[in-house]
């Protein structure tokens, strides 16, 4: 179950946020019947959706572009970064599905790194990121950790 798997993952890796893990995995349509391998894939799929939501929200922000040119440029870069993060999470899913766990974990880490670069873009612009962008960055990082930790439990 998500609860037991998240607990095991948190015990193994203290970076795992147990409450976040249970909340996000439990809502996924595949989680009720999933074993550990299945839940690792669920985590990767949640990552795909999280990055996709970030892209959606950034587009919404760009639909009314901010007057600050640097902030707008940062948002545009973030959209590209989260597009790439979405792909990386999808590739993490494929890797785990192929039972190539090293590749899967590598892609999950790559996705988290891409999301962090969004935060860096705002930092360089000396602009505070919008709350929803900051939130998706945090969640992308968290779900990548969850995905990696659960993958380590397989076997």
């Amino acid at each position: 179950t998500p609860e037991t798997t998240c607990a095991a993952a948190a015990a193994r890796d203290r970076r795992v946020d147990y409450g976040f893990c249970v909340s996000r995995l439990s809502h996924h349509h595949d989680s009720p019947d999933a074993d550990t391998w299945g839940l690792a894939k669920v985590a990767a799929d949640v990552g795909v959706a999280t990055a996709g939501d970030a892209v959606y929200d950034i587009k919404a922000l760009l639909a009314k572009p901010p007057p600050d040119a640097q902030a707008r440029a940062a948002l545009e870069q973030c959209q590209r970064l989260y597009d790439a993060a979405e792909m990386a999470f999808a590739e993490a899913y494929d890797g785990i599905n192929r039972r190539d766990y090293a590749a899967g974990k590598g892609k999950a880490a790559e996705a988290a790194a891409l999301a962090r670069r969004c935060d860096d873009a705002f930092a360089r612009a000396a602009v505070r990121p919008p709350p929803q962008v900051a939130r998706w960055g945090e969640e992308s990082s968290k779900i990548a950790v969850v995905c990696t930790a659960i993958t380590d439990l397989i076997g």
Partner: protein, 568 residues
């Protein structure tokens, strides 16, 4: 009893809406505005407001409220529900020699075609240009009715032999032929899937089957047939890879011919590319980069048809705008008993990613030669519909079959009948992630959109109303489609390209309309359009959704669900 059940269903929807109220932000509801036009709002109104401030300082989330008066409740629950006779699952038809005339294209459209597929493995640009022009002419004449999208299907890097009912044993020294005629399967001749094959081989070439499992020496050729002698024999099954030894040793992901066809598609403004033999996401990115550089707003649909694509399924679909389950080649490459499971997996993956999925190949194969389907084929269509495919596709049946219109009619009828057994008023089975009841967390546009998609669908299902959505980008219509509302989704858009694209999505009837600065005027014109087309009638209720990435008529991003009565 029935009325009580309906009231109960509505109460459930109301409770669902109430759970969305964030405890930390109990904002007061805005006073309902009275309509200024003939089309009047009746009672039920659900509103949430979010302001996206220019300085990116953040958002202020409003409360979610559902309000209703008793008169409207009575009217809604007593409204006679007429059967929804509109098919939701879309039909893609391959256009070929049997159907590439004005008369036949019109008839296909009237019978149920939603997307016209051009198979670039056959024919030339001139013949495909003719079809494109005819489809555009049809669309220009039917602005309020069925819109036909255009899908260009690339040949891809591989050449394959055709289907054979039983494996053919090839013996060393025997003569055997490959023909570009379609649908040929005899003891000594089978089809290939590519017209220019006849020009790509020469006498003296060695043809390799499946990379060398069998080989044949080309002896001579006619205008449509390559005559060979078997060098190394074996069992020839359906859809084998064919290569010429020493040529195309390294196949590009997109061939030179494909690029020519893609440019042809850009020049003609097609709506979709179906890309053949996609093995990973790289080819999708390559094509999308090209389309972006060409400023072409065309969606990319990979055909999942090779064994190599399955391990990369998630990333291929993530990179794409949808997918096609091309079962013929899947069955040739993988154990045939795996095909139903793979179909279900591909459909589910697409649905969970909110992307359209087409199920293709052999759906009514027998109707190429026979006027009635087999029972197994009927079941096959029903399964695809039940799995939630956005579209189902006809290939040879409409391209070169004897009974193309009958095939479309069968597909239409079976899909419609299957759909009628799927939906009930109070449930919305969906693979899209359910809207989460977020407590003490800020709402973001993406989550608000999902919540409103989910709850608009629940409301429409409970009250048995169609949904009307106004969309500039198509995103809200796509989201609503993926919640699979039981009734029809009328998507009004002011973008022709968006209208064309939405033709592929399950349950969506796209209609082009210019938006007014006044919301009520736009709604009034939309209702007039639906009345004229007899999609709705006076006294019907509709669920109106105003939401999406870009707001219409307001500075703030306001998400708004209303149930309104059609009045003239």
């Amino acid at each position: 009893m029935a009325a009580a059940a309906e009231i109960g269903g509505f109460a459930a929807a109301r409770v669902a809406v109430a759970t969305l109220r964030p405890a930390a932000h109990p904002a007061p509801a805005a006073a309902p505005q009275q309509p200024r036009r003939a089309v009047a709002a009746q009672s039920l109104r659900t509103t949430a407001t979010e302001a996206l401030t220019a300085d990116l300082a953040g958002t202020t989330n409003g409360a979610v409220h559902a309000r209703m008066n008793s008169k409207a409740t009575s009217e809604i629950t007593s409204q006679a529900v007429t059967a929804n006779s509109r098919r939701k699952t879309k039909i893609v038809c391959t256009i070929g020699p049997s159907t590439n005339t004005r008369e036949m294209i019109w008839k296909l459209a009237e019978t149920g075609m939603n997307v016209a597929r051009l198979n670039m493995s056959h024919g030339d640009h001139q013949s495909h240009q003719k079809v494109i022009d005819l489809v555009k002419e049809y669309n220009a004449q039917n602005t309020d009715g069925n819109v036909i999208a255009i899908m260009l299907d690339t040949k891809g890097p591989e050449v394959r032999s055709g289907d054979v009912p039983e494996p053919i044993m090839l013996k060393e020294g025997q003569e055997f032929n490959f023909t570009i005629k379609r649908g040929v399967s005899t003891e000594d001749t089978v089809s290939v899937n590519y017209d220019d094959f006849i020009n790509d081989v020469e006498a003296g070439d060695i043809l390799l089957v499946d990379g060398g499992m069998m080989s044949l020496a080309v002896k001579s050729k006619t205008t449509d047939t390559v005559k060979c002698k078997v060098v190394d024999g074996g069992e020839l099954k359906s859809r084998r890879h064919l290569n010429v030894r020493g040529k195309s040793a390294t196949l590009p992901s997109i061939t030179e011919k494909d690029w020519e066809d893609i440019k042809f598609g850009v020049e003609n403004g097609v709506d979709f590319y179906a890309v053949s033999f996609v093995k990973d996401a790289k080819v999708i990115h390559e094509l999308k980069d090209y389309l972006k550089s060409a400023n072409a707003d065309i969606h990319v649909i990979p055909k999942i048809e090779s064994a190599d694509s399955i391990p990369n399924l998630q990333s291929i679909i993530a990179a794409s705008d949808g997918a096609m389950v091309a079962r013929g080649d899947l069955g040739a490459e993988l154990p045939i008993e795996d095909v139903p499971l793979l179909q279900a997996e591909i459909v589910q993956t697409c649905r969970s990613m909110e992307k359209p999925v087409i199920v293709a190949t052999n759906m009514l194969e027998s109707m190429i030669d026979h006027p009635t389907p087999t029972r197994a084929e009927v079941s096959d269509i029903a399964i695809a519909v039940r799995e939630g495919a956005d579209a189902i596709m006809l290939s040879g049946e409409t391209a070169h079959g004897k009974y193309p219109l009958k095939a479309v009619k069968v597909m239409h009828t079976v899909a419609l009948r299957t759909e009628s057994s799927l939906y009930n008023p109070t449930t919305s089975p969906s693979l899209v992630a359910s809207a989460q009841g977020l407590q003490n967390e800020d709402f973001s546009p993406s989550q608000l959109s999902k919540m409103f998609g989910s709850h608009a669908t629940m409301m429409a299902n409970t009250l048995r109303t169609p949904i009307i959505v106004f969309t500039q980008t198509g995103s809200m219509a796509v989201l609503l489609s993926h919640y699979r509302p039981s009734s029809t989704l009328f998507a009004f858009t002011n973008e022709e390209r968006v209208k064309q694209r939405l033709a592929l999505y399950q349950g969506v009837i796209p209609i082009h309309m210019q938006f007014s600065d006044d919301a009520e005027e736009t709604f009034s014109r939309a209702i007039s359009s639906l009345l004229k087309a007899q999609y709705v009638k006076k006294g019907d209720y509709v669920t109106l959704v105003q939401s999406g990435v870009t707001s219409i008529w307001r500075e703030e991003s306001t998400h708004h669900i209303q149930v309104r009565k059609v009045q003239v």
